[in-house]
Amino acid sequence: MKLTAFAAAAAAFLAFGPVEALAGRDLDQIRQRGVMRCGVQAPSNPGFGFPNAQGVWQGFNVEICRAVAITIFGDPNRVEFVPVTTQSRFPALASGEVDILSNNSTWTLTRDSNVNRFNFPAIVFYDGQSMMVPRRLNITSARQLNGATVCVQPGTTTELNLADYFRQHNMRFTPVVVADLDELRRAYDSGRCDVFTNDFAALAAQRTLLSRPQDHVILPERISKEPLGPVIRQGDEELTNIVAWTVFALIDAEEMGITQANVEQIAASSTNPIVRRLLGVEGNMGESLGAARADYARQIIRTFGNYGEIYERWLGERTPLGLERGMNRTWNNGGLLYAPPAR
């Protein structure tokens, strides 16, 4: 087996040989590198993830990634944001180019299964697919769209749901499929398509970028369920736990009324053992999780606030997107957000 020996030497010489499989491999790699690579929607998705005037990434999904970085490193800045398109995101994650996707990816069986081998630790946004049309077409329901030309992003659940919906209702459509979201929106804006379809929140975000946003309406139908959340590769239980419990901490904090403004005061004065455990005042939750600090949740809330505060800052009614909380309320307020107890 001289060949093998020679190849091994060549591999060692070139220093990028096959990656060895270890338990918790992805988390080890992130720690070793000292920075987490987070895939965000390219070129930008207003509210969810977009670069500001200085080129710094901001938004709902961006703060989720930064919160995870606080849990891993105790530092929200140890994240490198990598813009990925809907077509390139999963190959980028599978190949290890990014460690985590935080770009409104939908949790589906195929993506979670042994075919793609991804993992969806938690849901951060409940959404459904919608259709936007120009107001002047006087259309009130998606059922009136037979024969329409539809602008859609490739490589998405949106694309598949669209085909399913029209098939189910015996309607025909012509897709216009462009990977670049900006290019796609321009095509819709110029009239190349009658319909622009995406998840409701993403449509609302894209509408703010149209030349005349008020001339477009989003039809009432939600043709699919779109549970959105961060995605990692399968096979690293430790990283799965860290991502999940970072999201849960944000939700739990809102449920308990802990905010960016009062977190320190509550940590100092609260006698509620549940609150004290969450904020790392007592117990060893941080250690069991493998977080950098015992009070990781307190640090996250001090930096970004609870789930509701992050939502209102980037997506809520006072932002250009103007999204209602809807399903994305905590369970005790009639929503779907329900975090397991931190104990």
């Binding site: 096959p18 190949s95 793609n116 769209l145 670049d180 009239g191 190349r192 009658d194």
Partner: protein, 397 residues
């Protein structure tokens, strides 16, 4: 390469009993063997590296996904396609879209390129300067930029409801060009056969006239009888079998129904590729023509040939020897550049492949497929062009 020549050059006197290769040849052979081994090893290492990395990520290698239902919608397809069809069918649709734009692009780019190349050599200074400007601007800006530019311009056309209607049944809007088309029926088949028969008869007529000119020196045009045949035979077919039926585009609901559509994406891609590649072809044609010696022009003029025929009968056949090899590269470039379709949303092979990779996770397999397909297209193009090159090559007698 010849060992005898080096041996005789190195040691002119002694002739060994067993013809051993000289040290120089041996050294050469050794280096070649080493190089070959290194290439094989590198390939082998790449392959193993891929397998190891896929195994480490729990990915399985296999082409089973091709038979699964794709579920992806594709905007334009030459063969019938619905999202319920398989990935194999979806990729075939993508391949046919690539071939469609490549074949049309090569034909149009050649015509435009030759015209531009000739204009570049024109004696008219304005024409020369304009062509020069065109070539320099187009050759020196990125193709992606040009594609986005043409796409943006086409999207500025009027909307469907205000579509331009230059001819009855022809509509131009930002949804593309709508044309009426004959329905595929027996009447159409009969009319096409009649056209074919007329063409064959015309060629026969041409041959007879050529033989007659060779024998008598008298020259007669076949234009009028030929055209008469082309008109009369299809008319006869229409009278006997009936005229072929039209599929006429009509505005119904959101869009035009019926007829054929050339989508704005196809149009923008074709326009971009043709204009870009024609600039390169023009330079190749100019270089080819200038490579023909001045004496050939003078000799042809001395024989009394007019300018057009000098070009067609004397200069171009000789210039082709210089033109064909770089022209082949341009054809290959055009075909491969068509993969930039992704940018403007034309569903070519790469676009469909990218989506398939995303939906199935089988990146290595899908990329191998489209690499193999491009390789085959390129090799076939090269083969055809090489055969043509051999046909026009200088024949030494």
């Amino acid at each position: 390469m010849s060992s005898t020549s080096t041996t005789s050059a190195g040691m002119p006197a002694a002739k060994p009993l067993i013809p051993l290769p000289s040290p120089t040849t041996l050294r050469g052979l050794m280096w070649q063997a080493l190089l070959a081994a290194a290439v094989v090893l590198l390939g082998w290492w790449f392959y193993n590296n891929m397998l190891a990395n896929m195994a480490a990520r729990g990915l399985q290698f296999g082409f089973g996904f091709l038979g699964r239902s794709a579920g992806i919608p594709i905007g334009e397809a030459i063969i019938p396609y619905t999202p319920a069809d398989t990935y194999q069918r979806a990729l075939t649709v993508g391949l046919l879209n690539t071939l469609r734009v490549a074949v049309a692009g090569i034909a149009l780019a050649t015509i435009l390129g030759i015209a531009l190349g000739l204009a570049r050599l024109s004696s008219n200074p304005l024409l020369r300067a304009l062509t020069g400007g065109y070539i320099e601007v187009i050759r020196n800006t990125p193709l992606v930029l040009q594609l986005v530019f043409w796409h943006a311009i086409i999207l500025q056309l009027p909307s469907v409801r205000q579509a331009l209607n230059p001819l009855p049944g022809v509509f131009l809007s930002q949804r593309g060009l709508k044309l009426p088309v004959f329905l595929a029926d027996e009447a159409l088949a009969s009319a096409l056969l009649a056209l074919l028969a007329a063409a064959i008869l015309w060629i026969g007529l041409l041959r007879r006239e050529a033989a007659r000119q060779a024998a008598t020196g008298e020259r007669r045009s076949t234009l009028l009888p030929g055209l008469a045949l082309l008109v009369a035979l299809p008319l006869l077919s229409a009278a006997l079998v009936g005229a072929p039926a039209w599929d006429w585009p009509e505005l119904a609901g959101f869009n035009f129904q019926g007829g054929v559509t050339l989508s704005p994406e196809f149009f923008a891609l074709l326009l971009g590729l043709v204009i870009y590649t024609a600039a390169f072809i023009a330079e190749i044609v100019r270089a080819g023509i200038q490579s023909v010696h001045k004496g050939q022009w003078e000799a042809a003029r001395a024989l009394g040939l007019p300018g057009g025929r000098i070009m067609r009968l004397v200069i171009l056949p000789q210039a082709l020897r210089v033109i064909i090899p770089p022209l082949t590269s341009q054809y290959l470039n055009l075909t491969k550049n068509s993969s930039l379709a992704v940018v403007i949303g034309y569903p070519d092979l790469v676009s469909v492949s990218n989506t398939s990779i995303n939906q199935t996770g089988q990146a290595v397999e899908v990329i191998s497929i489209f690499m193999a397909v491009y390789l085959i297209i390129s090799l076939v193009t090269s083969l055809l062009m090489n055969l043509y090159n051999r046909a026009v090559a200088l024949k030494e007698r």
